[in-house]
Subunit: 201 residues, 2 copies
């Protein structure tokens, strides 16, 4: 049986999203079909707005509403301008903000160095990062790229570029996740937790 075209179209469009296979896509489609009209409408409107009403902050390159000169964090004079946290993606900013533990400013690279995928320093917002640091008010750059191969390589590269500029360069600690179980920790994490062990306060 061929499904009615509008249904197949929606299944296809949903299947193209990451982590959504054809089964989930058809389950979602039939859910939307049975749900009140506003479910489909709200989603369609939000999708149409997402590209037209957002922009990158010209300072930190985080996502912000379009029409603003800078994002909320860059515009907030209460945020510490001496401390800059470098992340891969806008979602990482969100994750750090949720902790409530960082009151400085951010810089979003929009990716990591990856020779295999052909991503070099010029493809990331590294030039802009160095420019911000050269202005002189930043004292510490916290590199918060992911604890992955590419994230580590990117951190390494950034350190080489940043240290000649006279700023302190730090990296987020690696170790056992809070609430985690030593028994189930992978050997690399455990090794990091060992080598990074700290005096008990």
């Amino acid at each position: 049986m061929i499904l009615p075209e509008p249904i197949q179209d929606l299944i296809n469009a949903l299947s193209r999203l990451p982590g959504i296979g054809p089964k989930t896509a058809s389950r979602l489609t039939f859910y939307i079909l049975h749900a009140p009209d506003e479910v489909a409408e709200n989603l369609a409107n939000a999708l149409q707005a997402i590209k037209s009403k957002t922009a990158y902050c010209p300072i930190c390159f985080n996502i912000t509403s379009s029409g603003r000169e800078q994002c909320e964090i860059c515009a907030n004079s209460e945020r510490d301008e001496k401390s800059l946290c470098v992340v891969e993606e806008p979602l990482d900013v969100l994750a750090l903000e949720r902790t409530g533990g960082f009151l400085g400013r951010y810089h979003v690279l929009h990716g990591v160095l990856s020779p295999i995928e052909g991503v070099g320093p010029d493809d990331l917002r590294i030039k802009e990062l160095l420019g911000r640091v050269r202005q002189g008010s930043i004292k510490e750059v916290i590199i918060a790229t992911n604890p992955s191969m590419e994230g580590d390589a990117t951190a390494m590269y950034l350190r080489q570029q940043l240290e000649p500029l006279g700023v302190r360069v730090t990296r987020l600690a690696r170790g056992l996740p809070v609430g985690g179980d030593l028994e189930y920790a992978d050997p690399n994490t455990l090794l990091r937790a060992l080598s990074g062990r700290q005096e008990m306060e």
Copy 2:
């Protein structure tokens, strides 16, 4: 940090879908943000079409493109009109069609009897089912509601209503799933497989 409104809107709209939590919703949102414009456009268009361009077939109540007098299966004179398969939802028709093993016609109930959720016989397309059977050309009604409590209760009710009309009423077989493992089968399934055991061909 408050996310830009268009982003929060899309995260909220996606979170309302079943099986999509806030984390998946924000992952999808940032994916859509980085993806080519057409990803968001195609999805928005498909969502807008889904309600306006589909309708229920007035004979079997399966989903079909709007503007058609009946669905493709009802319109297909090669499908056996003596055999009618009763299912809960349009997706069940799709599942049965994929098997290629049924060449008759369908009837979609749009739900199951559920006293707890207040779903009675009048809330399903049962009256229309009985009307089709009374026309006389149907010889067998295969009840293919889900092998669940409600599906069984609905099947029971339908049998009571259908048998006086002089049709054969059957139900899909229950037993071990093909490729399944006896060791992992739940006791109820195993009991069904035992009691429904068949002579080897």
